[in-house]
């Protein structure tokens, strides 16, 4: 014991004792142990064994799911497997390529906004969807490098969806880090339940806000699974989230996304030069391997677009990205398609699940627009 006073600071009187500065509230002490304690040695042994065991299990899961070690974490096995489904996607991609041994394959690269794009098996080319949540240029490049590191790969076609934030300046890494560390791990594990909890939260809010009509409508809100088929071949490996489909739910999702995106607006209209370099390298790498490349800006919900257009920085960012990608496409012989304005594909607000991601049905029109452009 520290100078006989329960390991406290060496004051002659414990804090709160009469005559000392300040008057403390009564201290809260934990109740005495209800059963005989284990020995400290045995508790420490248990701690060490459990700690090492859990770390090893985590490392093993990583070794299985993140075989390349290329995505996000620089190959650290300890890194969380919960932070992104990219690990799972890359493992599946390896199987996909090896199963086709030399046959031409196509890939769709980008964020959750390309996850719904299913080109199927067209013109003798089987497609794999590499869409991962919040993909930035470096993720797209990592996937591309991984693909060409596989033996016997013949990548005939690549469709790259570039989100406005994929090229944003590093400051957005704060926001991105926030989501990655704070929200995503939970969503990865509990995505379905979080969706459920969120909808119950909304229902309760409507109920307590005496918005009876909304409350009643959302109680019967039929949920659907989002991105059910996003990889095209291994649906069980994908990030699945239940989203409500009533107008009321969709309106709330939309409001959420507008708030989220406008709160995280990039701080400057410039793109991050490293990310521009990454996307350039991606396209050049693909073209050097004779891959046909289509770069596109995915459709944005009309209301979100309207909200974002009100911001000069974001508008400047979009224009800057558009010019960068157009110039890149022109220089490398890739095709560039700007589908940002939903009018280009005829998408209406009803074609978006949640204000940001378009539905499977709408993706058919996006695919059609991309095929037309090619």
């Amino acid at each position: 014991m520290h100078r006989g006073d329960n390991n406290r600071w060496t004051s002659s009187q414990p804090p709160g004792a009469p005559g000392t500065r300040g008057e403390y509230s009564p201290r809260v002490h934990a109740p005495p142990p209800s059963s005989p304690p284990d020995s400290a040695a045995s508790a420490l042994r248990t701690f060490l064994i459990a700690f090492v065991g859990l770390l090893a299990a985590n490392a093993a899961v990583n070794a299985v799911l993140n075989p390349s070690g290329e995505l996000r974490d620089g190959g650290l096995l300890i890194e969380s497997v919960l932070s992104s489904e990219s690990h799972q996607k890359v493992a599946d991609l390896r199987d996909f390529i090896s199963a086709r041994a030399g046959a031409p394959v196509g890939v769709v690269l980008g964020s959750s906004r390309v996850m719904e794009l299913s080109f199927g098996d067209s013109a003798g080319v089987a497609y794999y969807n590499c869409g991962i949540s919040g993909a930035r240029a470096e993720d797209i490049l990592a996937f591309t490098r991984f693909i060409f590191a596989q033996p016997g790969v013949h990548l005939a076609e690549a469709v790259i969806g570039v989100d406005p934030f994929a090229l944003a300046v590093p400051d957005d890494s704060v926001e991105y880090g926030a989501r990655l560390r704070g929200v995503h791990p939970l969503e990865r594990v509990m995505g379905d339940r979080i969706g459920l909890a969120q909808r119950w939260h909304w229902r309760a809010a409507a109920l307590f806000g005496r918005d009876w009509t909304t409350a009643l409508r959302e109680i019967g809100d039929p949920p659907v699974k989002q991105w059910f088929d996003s990889s095209g071949i291994y649906p069980e490996a994908n990030y699945v989230r239940r989203v409500g489909t009533s107008d009321s739910s969709r309106a709330r999702y939309l409001a959420n996304h507008i708030e989220m995106v406008t709160t995280h607006l990039p701080p400057s209209p410039e793109s991050d030069p490293r990310r521009v370099e990454d996307i350039s390298e991606t396209v050049q790498l693909l073209r050097e391997h004779g891959t046909r490349v289509t770069i596109f800006l995915p459709p944005t919900h009309p209301s979100l677009l309207a909200a974002l257009r009100g911001d000069t920085i974001f508008r400047a960012q979009i224009d800057h990205d558009r010019r960068t990608l157009q110039e890149l496409a022109g220089r490398t012989g890739a095709i560039f398609v700007d589908l940002t304005d939903p009018a280009a594909t005829g998408l209406t607000p009803g074609d978006f699940w949640d204000g940001y991601h378009y539905t499977s049905a709408a993706s058919v029109r996006v695919i059609h627009a991309l095929r037309e452009a090619r």
Partner: protein, 467 residues
């Protein structure tokens, strides 16, 4: 090197524990621990190891001379030399650039242009902490409270021991001198168990609470003109973050100390349940406020030299306390603000004692809320890089800029923030837990630590590292 980094957890700490507990020769163990602490410090910038060593050597010599001094004049001379040396280093490395900038700002405002040279001096990590520890040692030896260190190795370890090196708790030599005599040859499993629990609790506070709250609040920090909602969201988040960050660090430091067989003092004691500002300072950064009390407030006359002198002393001590935190006028303003609050509190107590003030004291909960509000307003100054930002936040908090975007308050309704609030309200500090060894607790601690490790999201230094 951060406690919440892979290199510390999987390389540095295991090696240090082995190097400390395996050899039997006590001098060798002490030497290895000093070496490890310097390696830990060099992980940030090896060049400043020399500065820490220089401080160590100077104060060791000065204290020895003070103890052996034959005349009061000689003793005082060595004390003054030590004070000038330590405070001079602190002034140069921490404040020279700041004062040069301030002089230039004033000169610019007067149309004189820049009259002081622009200085870009790197602030050595932890200098404020180890300088205070070193100062306390020479002063304690001068006062006869502490004996001079028995060996240079002991003193080196006191200054450099890595768990508390960068951000405290601020220890005194009198705390460790007896512990050197009691060093065990074999692992003290009881202390090791305490250490593990303290470390895991600290890690949870830092990684699972403080970092998460910071991450969610980060986008708000750039809001140009925060309204009522944004200001409270920002300052409210920071109120949670700084407690969980700093007390998490302190818990980890104490836990690491236990693992090595050392006992460090308590640094936090549920500060947000304080019912007056004086009590807040008895609960917040305890080792720092006691340092200020023992080495500044009391030598200035404390509270026994009349009401006005007491108020002056409080004000002065908190002014310097604010400046200690950082070379920025917002920190000074924060110190002055707390000095004023303490002055108001002590004045009201004195007036009540003398029967001049007859208003009843606030009931417990109202006093708690009022104290908390006063502290939260203070954080607006503390977190702001300049007065424009601080003024924006404070005016936003009182509603002078309108309601703002109410949805930003969601950051305070985030599950992690709610857990943090509940923790503050109901969970005692780990110092008050019954740390009875249990296997099921050990299993839980291991699982939580692994979860923390999985959540490590890159470089995330502790807030108090900058001081």
């Amino acid at each position: 090197m951060l406690f919440n980094s892979y290199v510390f957890l999987f390389l540095f700490l295991p090696i240090v524990l082995l190097a400390w507990w395996v050899p039997r020769n006590i001098q060798l163990r002490l030497a290895l621990l000093v070496l490890a602490s310097y390696v830990f410090y060099a992980g940030w910038d090896y060049r400043f190891c020399a500065l820490m060593l220089l401080t160590t050597v100077m104060d060791y010599i000065a204290a020895g001379r003070i103890a052996r001094g034959s005349t009061p004049r000689e003793r005082k001379g060595w004390l003054v030399a030590a004070l000038v040396f330590n405070l001079g280093l602190l002034a140069y490395f921490k404040y020279a650039g700041f004062f040069a900038r301030s002089v230039n700002d004033v000169a610019d405002a007067m149309g004189l242009g820049s009259i002081a040279p622009t200085l870009s001096i790197i602030l050595p990590l932890g200098i404020s902490f180890y300088t205070f520890e070193s100062l306390s040692y020479t002063i304690d030896v001068y006062r006869g409270i502490a004996k001079p260190a028995k060996s240079f190795l002991h003193y080196m370890l006191f200054i450099s021991i890595f768990p508390k090196l960068i951000a405290g708790p601020i220890i005194r030599y009198t705390d460790v001198e007896d512990q050197y005599a009691e060093l065990r040859e074999r692992v003290d499993v009881e202390l090791m168990w305490r250490g593990v629990v303290f470390f895991v609790v600290g890690m949870v506070k830092k990684v699972l609470v403080a970092d998460q709250i910071a991450a969610h609040a980060a986008p708000l920090m750039g809001v140009a003109h925060p309204g009522l909602a944004e200001s409270w969201a920002i300052v409210g988040s920071y109120t949670l973050q700084i407690y969980f960050d700093f007390s998490g660090y302190s818990d980890m430091a104490v836990g690491l100390g236990y693992m090595l067989g050392f006992r460090f003092p308590q640094n936090f004691n549920r500060p947000y349940i304080a019912r007056n500002i004086s009590e807040f300072w008895d609960r917040w950064h305890i080792t720092f406020s006691r340092w200020l009390r023992d080495y500044l407030f009391i030598p200035l006359g404390g509270s026994r030299a009349g009401a006005l002198r007491t108020l002056r002393n409080l004000f002065l001590v908190m002014f310097l306390g604010g400046l200690w935190h950082g070379a920025n006028w917002t920190f000074v303003a924060w110190g002055v603000y707390h000095g004023t609050l303490l002055g108001v509190y002590h004045s009201s107590r004195m007036l009540r004692k003398r029967g001049v003030l007859r208003a009843p004291e606030l009931p417990g909960r109202a006093a708690l809320i009022l104290t908390l509000l006063a502290v939260v307003f203070g954080w607006a100054l503390f977190l702001s890089p300049d007065f424009t930002t601080a003024w924006g936040l404070v005016s936003g908090m009182v509603g002078a800029r309108g309601v703002g975007d109410a949805s930003t308050l969601r950051v305070l309704l985030h599950p992690i923030a709610i857990v943090a609030f509940a923790w503050l309200a109901f969970v005692p500090e780990v110092w008050d837990w019954q740390l009875v060894p249990r296997r099921r607790v050990a299993l839980g601690a291991a699982a939580v630590l692994v979860l923390c490790i999985m959540m490590l999201g890159g470089y995330s230094p502790f807030i108090y590292y900058q001081f």
